[in-house]
C-alpha cells in the first residue's frame, strides 16, 4: 500500500473517537453532544475502511456506508428532538432534561 500502513489510520481513528467521547461526556449542550457523536461515528468509519483495505474485501466499505446512513438518520431525529425541546421553552441542557427519567 502506498502511504501509511493500517496502524496509522487506526491510531487517527482512536484519537478521533477519544475526542468524540470526551465531547459527549463533558459538554452540556445537546447540539454539541450530537456533533461529538458524529465524530465518534466517523472514527468508526475510518477504522472500517482501513480494515477493508487491509483485508481486500468490500464488506467493510458496505458497512461504512450503512453507518453513514445511520449517522444521517440519527442527526435528523436528534436535531428534531432538540428543536421540539426548545419550542417547549425548556432548558437546552442534557443534565436538566430529566422528564423521561423513570
Amino acid at each position: 500500500m502506498p502511504g501509511p500502513g493500517v496502524a496509522a489510520y487506526l491510531i487517527l481513528s482512536v484519537i478521533l473517537f477519544a475526542t468524540g467521547a470526551f465531547g459527549v461526556l463533558i459538554r452540556r449542550s445537546p447540539l454539541i453532544v450530537l456533533l461529538a457523536l458524529e465524530i465518534m461515528l466517523n472514527a468508526g468509519n475510518l477504522a472500517l475502511i482501513a480494515f477493508a483495505r487491509q483485508t481486500g474485501t468490500g464488506a467493510g466499505q458496505i458497512f461504512a456506508l450503512t453507518v453513514m446512513v445511520v449517522a444521517a438518520a440519527e442527526a435528523v431525529v436528534g436535531l428534531g428532538l432538540i428543536v421540539a425541546v426548545s419550542r417547549r421553552h425548556m432548558d437546552l441542557d442534557v443534565d436538566k432534561l430529566t422528564t423521561l427519567r423513570g
Binding site: 500502513g5 496502524a7 470526551f22 463533558i26 487491509q54 456506508l65 428532538l81 421540539a84
Partner: protein, 131 residues
C-alpha cells in the same frame, strides 16, 4: 482525503455529499434557529464529572493505542493486493445489490422512518402542551 488513500472512492464521495451537503447544513440551520447559547464547561473549578470524562477518554485512547502497538509488527503490516476496481461505484453497487441486499433494504427503511420522525418532531407543538 484519507478514504481516497484507502481505495474507497465511492465512500469518499458519499462522505462529502452526506456530511458537507446535509448534516453540516442541518446543524447550521438548527444553530441559527436556536441562537448561540453559552456553553463553557471549563468555567470555574473542574467538577468531578469533567475529571471523570478526561480520565475515561484518555483511558480509551491509551488502551487501544497500546493494543495497536502490540499488534503492529505482524499481520497489521501486510495489506492485501487489490485490483483497480476495488471500492469503485460499480463494485459497491454489485456488493450492495448482491451479497448485502438485506442491509440495503433495511437502510431504506431506516431512512424512511428517520424522515417521518423528523417531520413529526419538527411540526408544530400542540397548544395545550405549551407551558
Amino acid at each position: 482525503m484519507l478514504y481516497l488513500l484507502l481505495a474507497a472512492e465511492f465512500v469518499a464521495a458519499a462522505q462529502v455529499l452526506v456530511y458537507a451537503g446535509a448534516v453540516v447544513v442541518m446543524f447550521l440551520f438548527v444553530i441559527a434557529y436556536l441562537g448561540g447559547r453559552a456553553d463553557a464547561p471549563w468555567a470555574g473549578t473542574p467538577s468531578l464529572q469533567s475529571l471523570a470524562a478526561i480520565v475515561a477518554a484518555a483511558a480509551i485512547a491509551v488502551e487501544i493505542v497500546v493494543v495497536i502497538a502490540l499488534k503492529a509488527g505482524d499481520e497489521l503490516s501486510s495489506p492485501a493486493q487489490v485490483e483497480d476496481s476495488f471500492g469503485s461505484p460499480a463494485e459497491i453497487g454489485r456488493l450492495f445489490l448482491g451479497d448485502h441486499l438485506l442491509a440495503f433494504e433495511v437502510t431504506s427503511i431506516v431512512l424512511l422512518v428517520a424522515a417521518v420522525g423528523g417531520v413529526i418532531l419538527g411540526s408544530a407543538v400542540p397548544k395545550e402542551k405549551r407551558s
